[in-house]
Each structure stands twice: as structure tokens, then as C-alpha cells.
Amino acid sequence: MSNMRSLTFDAIIIGGGGAGMRAALELAKSGKKTAVLSKVFPTRSHTVSAQGGITCAIASADPNDDWRWHMYDTVKGSDYIADQDAAEYMCSEGPKAVFELEHMGLPFSRFDNGRIYQRPFGGQSKNFGEGGQATRTCAAADRTGHALLHTLYQNNLKNNTTFLNEWYAVDLVKNADGDVVGCIAMDIESGEVVHVKAKATVLATGGAGRIYASTTNALINTGDGIGMALRAGFPMQDMEMWQFHPTGIYGAGTLVTEGCRGEGGYLINKDGERFMERYAPNAKDLAGRDVVARSMVMEILEGRGCGEKGDHVLLKLDHLGEEVLGKRLPGIVELSKTFAHVDPANEPIPVVPTCHYMMGGIPTNVHGQAIMQDGDGNDQIINGLFACGEAACVSVHGANRLGGNSLLDLVVFGRAAGMYIEGALNEGIEYLDASESDVETAMKRITRWNASSDGETVPELKRALQDIMQTSFGVFREEDNMQKGVAQLAELRERIAGAYLPDKSNTFNTARVEALELDNLMEVAEATAIAALERKESRGAHSRYDYPDRDDVNWLKHSMYFPLEKRLGKRDVNFAPRTVDVFEPKIRTY
């Protein structure tokens, strides 16, 4: 242990996607000693795959647009368990954050008057749901995430941010007081394991869609930050809330942006019927994603699905014409040809609801400070630990995220975390150093994999995990099936504890990375499963056959999963925005 090299920073940001790089930019500009540690070169992060846009009331398409309307839509979309102070912060700060991106060079598409192009997205309204569909999603064609991620990387280069690229964070290091004081990380190229010391550790590790067999997520989305926090004993919030995106390409899982429907595309069943008119008479195909995904599954279950197996529906775009497709949706045309073998100018795209986004995550306040609960159930800040982006649960998405709100979440809360940490560093942060045994604790699992000599291999165990999640924790859920899933996961945890890493080499050993990722998938899957089983109601993305109604008496709450006891508790939702009247829970219709 004593011969292990250590690196010391004011702040270490784990994850080089949109949230991590936005936080890093803030800190780099402040002159603090900061590094971004990313398991891939930053522009390979999953933010790059975001397509349709970043939703924000910049009042470009509609000069009268108002961030309060956006906030209302966000809270309604969340099925009322978004924290209203957080939604207020995101929607009101949003325009500033989006204009900053433009000033950094993000190549937004434009309207004739030179302002940023905006398109309609699901769940958007004017005048608090009274004024019809809004047009609020800022876009760079259908490559907004790519444009955003590259712009942030470029501006980090400009500001001389330190990057530890292709480094993998293994586990958090806690001191004797329980404060987070850094992490153990591995340089993937050399295999060297290093103790990274920091006064602020930011988890910006993104989502974990790879717990499901079918997902729009990149192969790297393995919930590394969630796994690290859970192993450190910290709670997770709302982990049962997983968004199934209505339009993943059938078979391949690749995403087709909601922007397709925003531009005028719509879903049809095998009879060619625009079925969303029945489920959401007003918003139709632009209802909340949870609503559209459930409607699609209902169509399929009732025998109106398409194809030989009747197991998908179709997204019709041909009526938009080649010009709109070429100008506004060029990436979709490309993806459809590659993965669905159809040209959307002529034929509809086969699509099916596909795991897309983790609404839950590490509970934080609007400054990105991670939160746990004390013995009386009161919020307690975790010293030294921060989270932002998909890994965090602030919560602005509650039980269902609106399209275009994830990119806004990234930049607003990445920025907020960076600003807060800068201030805290200026005031001075002193935590106890980690002891040798603290570091050893964080080294435990990599030591275990390195010593493994026999057992099952990583790919088969990963497949088993993904099958359990797909089968028992999909769009619709019910008690018996989830009980079975939880039991299977408990058994799988034992198998993974005895699994085997055949390749023990040091140089760019991707097998070791995949083994370490499997531990994280296991943590995320179990948190999801137990939270889903215990939330006995239907709300947003969490739909139960056995509890079909929303239960505001018992469950107008965040769930809190405590990993040491594998117990589900509750946490109050914030209903106290600072500058607007609270939005009281209503029946949610579109």
C-alpha cells in the first residue's frame, strides 16, 4: 500500500461527459487545481449521443415564453415528485447556461432572425398547461449532445483543464469521520493504481442503462458513480424510476429522438392508426414519455403491434419530406438506414420502448452536495462528496423526465456544483487524511478481482443480470415477478462475488475494467429492484399492474434506498419554491 503513488487536487471530477466538463470548466476558470478523470476520452462520453435538444425558455421561438411555464411542465412531467426548489433553479437559471454555451461556440441551428432554433418536444405547454403546445427545445439539428459535448471539451482545452483520460475510478476513499476525501483510480493504459486525494470529489459518471438487456445507452453506461456511492454506504434516491424512451430502434436499441415527433412525425400501429390520439387526445404523440411508452406496450399487448411477432410499432416520418429530414433530422436518417435498414423518407421506422434514462441517483441539493439521512430521517450533507448530471438526483425529473431536460440538467447543475465548490475552497476545507486502512478498504474489490483464480466469467454474469432486469423491472411491473427478480439478483450477487478475471495483465486491460463495471451494474440493479418492489403505487415511469393508481397519501415522496440494510425509506419532496407559488399535485393528463 505504502508504495502506491498519490495525486492531490483541490477537486477531482469523475466523469468527462456534459455535467463533469461543465463543472470542470467553472473550476478551471477559477484557478483551482482540478482534474477530470474519465474512463474514455471525454468526447466519447454518452452525452455525445443526445439528439433532439436542450429544453429552455430562451424565448426564441416564442418571445412570450416563460421559464415558469417550463417549470410547471417539468413538475407535472415528474408526476409531482420533482423538488420544486430544484426545478425552479434549473428553469430560471437555464437561459443563462444556454446562452453561455452559445457564446462558447455551440453551433445551434438558427431561425431566420438569427436566434437559436427551437422545436416542440413532449410534455411542453404554454401558460401552465392552458395555452397549448410550446416550442422550447433548443437544437443543433439532431446532434445537440455531440455539439454540446465537443463545445465543452474545446472550452476546457482553452482553459487548460487537467484531464486524466482513460482512467477508471474504482472506489471512493472515506476518512475516519466518514468524509469523502478522494478515490482509488486506475490508469487504464498502464494499469497503475493511484490514490487520488481531493477536498471535493464530484461524481459525474452518468447513467446505468446497461443494467437492461435493451437500452439506448452507450456500452460505458454502467453506473460507476452509483456503485461507488452505494459501496461507500450512501443512500440512493428514486432508483425505481427508469425512463423507457418510446422510440428505440427495434432490435438495435439505438435512440430515435423525440424531435422526430416534435417535427411532426407520429406513431402508428399495424392498422396504420395514429393510436396516440386515443391515449392522449390533446398532446397525442407529444405526451410525456412514460405515457407514450405505456400506450405503445398496450397496443402491442392488445395485438395491434407490427411485424411478424407483432412486437413493435412504427414511427412515420415520410410525410415530413426530404428537406425537413435532411435539415432537421439528418442523424436520424443515417441511424435508420444503418440500424433499421429503412430510409425514413420512404418507410416508417420500427420502434419499441427502450431503457433510456435513470431519473434516480445520488440525492443532492442544488449545489451538487450529496445528501444522506441522519438517524431521525433529516437531510445531512456528506462532506466532500458531490454529484451532478444523470448520476445525481437533485431531483428535477422526479418520476419521469421531460425530453430535452437532461442536457439542461447537465449544464445547470454542473455549473452550480463548480461554483459552489469554488466558493467552499475559497473559504477553506479541512478534512482528516485517509489512513492506510481507509485506503485498503477502497482497494478491496480490485484486489479481489486480481486474486481471482476460478469461477464464472464477466460476460455471462452481465447477460444474466440484464435478463433479470428486462424481465422483472420493465415498463409494467407487478409484485410476484419483482419478488422473483429480487431473489434472482440476491443469488447473482453471490455468483459475482466469486467471479473470475482471466486476464491479469496491466496494459490497457479492458477485461479488468469490464469486471469492475459489473460490480457497479450489480449495485444499481439491486437498488432499482428493491425500490421498485417497495413503491406500492404507479407514478410516472413506475407502473404496476397490482397498484395501478397514484397514491399521494403514502407516496408523494422520494424513495431512499439504504444499501447496508437493503432497506427502502422515504424522503420529503420539496414543495417550497422561492419565487413562485407551489404547483399542487393534480391528476396528470395530456
Binding site: 446562452f99 457564446h103 455531440h146 456500452l219
Partner: protein, 236 residues
């Protein structure tokens, strides 16, 4: 349907004194899967096989490699596009140092990208809202900003093979032009001054391998031509 025969470039500096080609047999069950899927199957046979991958849909640029002699992205290249006579030869991107198997050291490639200062520079104070840009001005960025830094183009370029330290290469120059042509950027003269020497731009011989291999259908040669025009106009 016979199995796919894959010949794969192998090199692990810890155990191999020199690189070698290894044969794999992969049962694709007759499906026209992507080359990346084949790599996953091979990694189940040999846990130690190293390659990069992330988005698996052609937007992150991780899995650029040489497939039957042509650079491309493994995740969006179906077997039907590259395989001949049930044979597939997979090698790392040419011209860059190999770290292990299909993983190359991209440092030189990134250095050339950084050299062109790939970020918007504007010496005017920013307005309270966005800077305005007409759709026509914005159209000029199409075909440029979409680059995913996969390095397929630069590592297919003989000029880059010869002078990777002095010739910016097609990827870097495409990004250079993306900022030169952006109506919001005010550093045009400074950017051009950095490119005047005989190597940075003028080592391009118009071979157009970059255009032939770009998985995003971009045209670096055209962008390089435009930069030359700007440099020449500047000189006269």
C-alpha cells in the same frame, strides 16, 4: 453458412516481443452483424482482446480501426460491407503507435487537434442573449462540426503518416476551417497566420483518402482547399 474467419492484429507489450496476426473463427449464425459485434464475440473467446468502444452507434468515435484494408468504425460497419470470401482482417488504425491489439496511442492526433485552437474566439463582449447568426451563416458549419475525432481520416493519409508532427492532418484542418468560417469567430487572421508554413496545410496532396474513409461522410479535402484559398487570398 460457414463461419467467419477473422485475422486479428495482436500485440501485448507485456508478453509479445513483436505483433502478430491471430486467426479466430466466429459463428455469426449467418446474421449480418456489425464488426463490433464480432469483436464482442471474439472477446468472449479471448478475454484479453483489447479494443475501444462506447456508443456503438457511430457518434462517439471510439472504435476506428482498419477492416479489410479500409479505415472505418466497427460499430456501424456491417459484415456485408467489408467481408470478402468469409474473411475479415482487422488491424489497428495505421501510422499511430500501438498500445495493445487494436488500441492505438492517439496523442499525436489529439495534439494536432489542439494546435488549431479548436474553440470559438471572439474579442467582443458577449451579449445578454445569444450571438445572432443567420441560417445561411450557420449552414457553412454543416459538414464540419459533425466530426467525431475518430482519426479514421488522418490515419489513412500518407501526408500525415510522413509528418504527423508538422502536418495538421485532415481532422485537425476540418476543425480549423469550422472555426475560420464561423461568423462568430474573430480570430481569422491569427488562425491563418498559424497555418502559413509549408507543412501545416500545404503537405496535403489532395489524395482524398480522408474523404473515402470518413464514416460521417465529411469532406476534409474540400475544407483544406478552402483554407488554401484563404491563405492565398491573404498573401496577395
Amino acid at each position: 453458412m460457414s463461419n467467419l474467419q477473422v485475422s486479428l492484429y495482436r500485440y501485448n507489450p507485456e508478453t509479445d516481443s513483436a505483433p502478430y496476426m491471430e486467426n479466430f473463427e466466429v459463428d455469426t449464425q449467418g446474421r449480418d452483424v456489425m464488426v463490433l459485434d464480432v469483436l464482442h464475440m471474439m472477446k468472449e473467446q479471448d478475454n484479453g482482446l483489447a479494443y475501444r468502444r462506447s456508443c456503438r452507434e457511430g457518434v462517439c468515435g471510439s472504435d476506428g480501426m482498419n477492416m479489410n484494408g479500409k479505415n472505418g468504425l466497427a460499430c456501424i460497419t456491417p459484415l456485408s460491407e467489408v467481408v470478402k470470401d468469409d474473411r475479415l482482417v482487422l488491424r489497428p488504425l495505421p501510422g499511430l503507435p500501438v498500445i495493445r491489439d487494436l488500441v492505438v496511442d492517439m496523442a499525436l492526433f489529439y495534439k494536432q487537434y489542439e494546435r488549431i485552437e479548436p474553440y470559438l474566439q471572439n474579442d467582443q463582449p458577449a451579449p445578454a442573449i445569444e450571438r445572432l447568426q443567420s441560417p445561411e451563416e450557420r449552414d457553412k458549419l454543416d459538414g464540419l462540426y459533425e466530426c467525431i475525432l475518430c482519426a479514421c481520416c488522418s490515419t489513412a493519409c500518407p501526408s500525415f503518416w510522413w509528418n504527423p508532427d508538422k502536418f495538421v492532418g485532415p481532422a485537425g484542418l476540418l476543425q480549423s476551417y469550422r472555426f475560420l468560417v464561423d461568423s462568430r469567430d474573430t480570430a481569422t487572421q491569427e488562425r491563418l497566420a498559424e497555418l502559413e508554413d509549408p507543412f501545416s496545410v500545404f503537405r496535403c496532396r489532395g489524395i482524398m483518402n480522408c474523404v473515402a474513409v470518413c464514416p460521417k461522410g465529411l469532406n476534409p479535402t474540400r475544407a483544406i482547399g478552402k483554407i488554401r484559398e484563404m491563405l492565398l487570398a491573404n498573401a496577395t
